[in-house]
């Protein structure tokens, strides 16, 4: 076990996987000598050299597209997009090329690559350093999308992603990069499967569902509720494509009330899918409508960096509404 924060968990996992498998390489802007602007690739350049830790031109289309060309030729590239907000210059590569490689070739080619993207707000970055673009990727058939919230899950899901034979977008909660530390299993096989949610707390009054950076506010909401005698079940989805429908439906059916917390824009956010599925599958079990607490449908603002994010106050208000319904 190592006590790691989230970036250390990323660097440590990349190190272990590169040591294990020569075909694993890292590419992106500043990932080499600089070790990445968030230092998530720190130490790798010294250990593995410029061939396997590639400082790329400042072009997301080149990074994502080249990662594809490498992957079909036998490598397992892990590309870093400096901020998830900069995935868009490479969006066509991701949507038109990477995601459809297996499908359009009838399974003849496949693209085992990973694209890491620091994501989410609360870092005073304004709208070009704070967005949560997960819905774009979930809406693109052929991509796996995961958004872990803890060092241990990040390590385990990154490892699963690197070993996956399909392309994986790993969204990383940059607000939590250094804010959370925990013991991460040193086991070089520590892997978290996709499509499995984690029930982080159990309670009978309401189910709080979240993922990624919003897990922090969700967890604090659950603790504030606990202090007031209300017990929440807290589900960390961790993986969005595929997502763990069964765990969500079992818990929500058992409790009858749920509040869905995510920090991306409200309309057609990922939680809209979760809410619709709950309504389709277990309407009869509901004591209250599924309630979403999310970011607002505005570009991410600079000055209102914190107010934009869904926090415990809004979560608790939603819980009250669910309890009153």
């Amino acid at each position: 076990m190592s006590e790691w924060n989230l970036v250390q968990a990323i660097a440590g996992t990349l190190d272990a996987e590169m040591a294990r498998d020569e075909s694993v390489i890292v590419l992106g802007e500043d990932v080499g000598k600089r070790g990445g602007v968030f230092l998530a690739t720190r130490g790798l350049f010294d250990r593995y050299g410029p061939d396997r830790v590639i400082d790329t031109p400042l072009s997301e289309a080149a990074i994502i597209g080249a990662a594809l060309g490498m992957s079909v030729h036998g490598l397992r590239p892990v590309a870093e997009i400096q901020f998830a907000d900069y995935a868009f210059p490479g969006f066509d590569q991701l949507v038109s090329q990477v995601a459809k490689t297996r499908y359009r070739s009838g399974g003849a080619f496949h693209a085992p690559l990973v694209i890491r993207m620091p994501s989410g707000g609360g870092v005073k970055g304004g709208h070009h350093h704070s967005q949560n673009p997960e819905t774009h990727f979930v809406h693109t058939a052929g991509l796996h999308v995961v958004y872990p919230s803890t060092p241990s899950d990040t390590a385990g899901m990154l490892r699963t992603a690197i070993r996956s034979d399909d392309p994986v977008v790993v969204l990383e909660p940059k607000r939590l990069y250094r804010a959370v530390k925990e013991q991460v299993p040193a086991d070089p096989e520590h892997a978290v499967p996709f499509g499995s949610a984690m029930v982080r707390k159990r309670g009978d009054d309401v189910v709080l569902i979240s993922y990624g950076a919003s897990m922090a506010e969700t967890a604090r909401s659950a603790e504030a509720l606990h202090a007031q005698g209300i017990e929440a079940t807290v589900i960390d989805l961790r993986s969005l494509m595929p997502w763990d429908r069964d765990t969500v439906l079992q818990e929500v059916a058992r409790v009858g009330r749920c509040v869905l917390v995510s920090e991306g824009p409200h309309t057609v956010g990922f939680m809209s899918e979760v809410a619709a599925t709950i309504a389709e599958e277990i309407l009869d079990a509901l004591l209250a409508p599924p309630l979403r607490v999310s970011g607002y449908d505005t570009p991410y603002p600079y000055a209102q960096d914190r107010e934009y994010l869904p926090g415990p106050r809004r979560v608790l208000n939603a819980v009250q509404r669910a309890l009153d319904y």
Partner: protein
């Protein structure tokens, strides 16, 4: 007055910094923007330029100390008299860690990993609202107790509920207001929602209100505590199938029987309104069939199958349908097309204790006589036991009803819309028949009534179809050719 300077967030995602060196000593004057202290973070090492001008009263951390972002770093004096604003970098960042600190109080944590996040910032979480579950009094039904605690029904709703006697509050769509789980519970218990008094906001019916209104009710089922009842009751765990079989109810017309009756009524009305129902009646001399069946019956019984006339009729029917595909068809109203089925799936009306049920003999044309007998027996039994699967009552392409066996000469059966036709098969009775030579003999006669949708089928076609069917029934050995 003295003011405090806190450690700013020096780069995105940085949450702490290590003091490398102080560049200004305690008690020394300091100018605005003068390098004050050198701080190393995970991402950068920087000299912090002083955001203030005055005297550095105290260094609140020493070289080598690691401070969280927002922690007090220095105290300084502006030489004023103390009326100024206290503290800070002025960007409001200090509550970032404070929030974390207050949230890290939970020692009764259940061992989950939630505490992991207590140090993190973000989110609009100023003063937190007080959250309450509904008080116990409100759980048992609307009482208008006057308790105005949050979560209790508001005054107006309570008053409405108590004065409206036995009428539930209605939503804008005219239906009683109720949470989905309460609707299900009401269905299961046979409680009309219209008679339930809702205790929720605006008189919305909640789960416990239905329990309280159930016959012999007033209490939640199985003696559970009220709070537990609500959560457990919401439940039925998710297992893919949202509805359990309805339990048996009281003798009033609120049991699931009523549901089937209603469905039958709707279907009958739909058929009546949406088809151009036309009747053609004829009779068949089935004397040979009677003899044949009498010969085969013991053999079938030896193989465990009760052999009625129905399998013979079905065999003759599917053979005839193959020659008249227009009768094995349905009317697609959405596309205005006639759709002819490839296979014959024949519905057989069964008079079950719950009402009319029409299970479907799938792929009837591919079944042997014995197979048809076994399958119709099985479906009829299942229909009477109420154990038919949903798929066993769907997908018919033609239907047969032998209700006439109970009595009567012939009937005018109703079509299972959108099918093209239904065949009424009536009682076999000996009747006097005049032969070619004017001799009058007793023969076993069978009335057939074909009820068809005249939009799809012309009268002449219906007659030809019936003629072909009768020909087969009167010379039943032909049925055996490919049985």
């Amino acid at each position: 007055m003295s003011r405090t300077f806190t450690l700013p967030e020096l780069a995105e995602s940085v949450v702490e910094g290590e003091i490398v060196a102080w560049l200004v000593g305690e008690g020394e004057p300091v100018a605005l923007d003068q390098p004050l202290v050198e701080v190393m973070t995970d991402k950068v090492t920087v000299e912090i330029p002083s955001p203030f001008e005055g005297v550095l009263e105290a260094q609140l951390a020493q070289a080598g100390d690691v401070l969280p972002v927002g922690a007090p770093l220095a105290r300084w004096s502006d030489g004023g008299d103390g009326s100024g604003e206290a503290s800070g970098t002025g960007d409001g960042d200090e509550d970032r860690t404070n929030d974390g600190a207050t949230a890290t109080t939970d020692e009764e944590d259940d061992g989950s990993s939630l505490t992991l996040f207590t140090a993190s910032g973000g989110g609009d979480d100023g003063p937190l609202p007080r959250v309450r579950k509904r008080p116990a009094a409100a759980q048992a039904g609307a009482t208008g107790s006057g308790d105005s605690a949050p979560g209790a029904p508001d005054q107006a709703a309570s008053t409405t509920a108590s004065t409206a006697a036995s009428t539930a509050a209605r939503g804008p769509w005219g239906r009683p207001l109720a949470v989905p789980a309460a609707r299900r519970r009401a269905r299961e218990l046979g409680v009309p929602l219209e008679r339930v008094l809702g205790s929720g906001p605006h008189g919305r019916i909640r789960l416990e209100d239905v329990d309280a209104s159930a016959p012999g009710g007033g209490a939640a089922p199985s003696g559970a505590a009220p709070g537990a009842a609500a959560s457990a009751a919401a439940g039925a765990t998710y297992a893919g199938s949202p509805l359990r079989a309805a339990p048996d109810g009281p003798e009033e017309a609120r049991s699931p029987l009523r549901g089937l009756r209603r469905i039958v009524a709707q279907q009958m009305m739909h058929s009546h309104l949406s088809t151009v129902r036309t009747l053609h009646v004829d009779e068949a001399d089935v004397s040979e069939l009677v003899a044949l069946r009498a010969r085969l019956k013991p053999r079938a019984e030896a193989r465990g199958v009760r052999l009625t006339y129905l399998p013979f009729v079905l065999r003759a029917l599917v053979a005839t349908l193959a020659r008249h595909p227009r009768l094995n068809a349905w009317w697609d109203e959405t596309t205005e097309e006639v759709v002819e089925a490839r296979d014959a799936h024949v519905g057989v009306a069964v008079d079950s204790p719950r009402g009319l049920v029409v299970p479907v003999v799938r792929d009837a044309s591919r079944r042997t006589l014995l197979d048809l007998a076994a399958e119709t027996n099985r479906l009829a039994a299942a229909a009477r036991d109420g154990t038919l699967a949903p798929d066993e009552v769907r997908g018919g392409t033609f239907s047969v009803t032998n209700v006439g066996a109970i009595g009567g000469l012939f009937s005018f059966p109703i079509i299972q819309a959108p099918q093209a036709a239904v065949l009424g098969v009536h009682a076999i009775k000996k009747r006097p028949v005049v032969l070619e030579d004017d001799a009058i003999v007793a023969r076993s006669m069978l009335y057939l009534s074909l009820s068809f949708d005249h939009r799809l089928v012309d009268g002449a076609d219906a007659v030809r179809f019936t003629n072909d069917l009768i020909r087969l029934l009167e010379a039943p050995e032909a049925l055996l050719l490919d049985a």
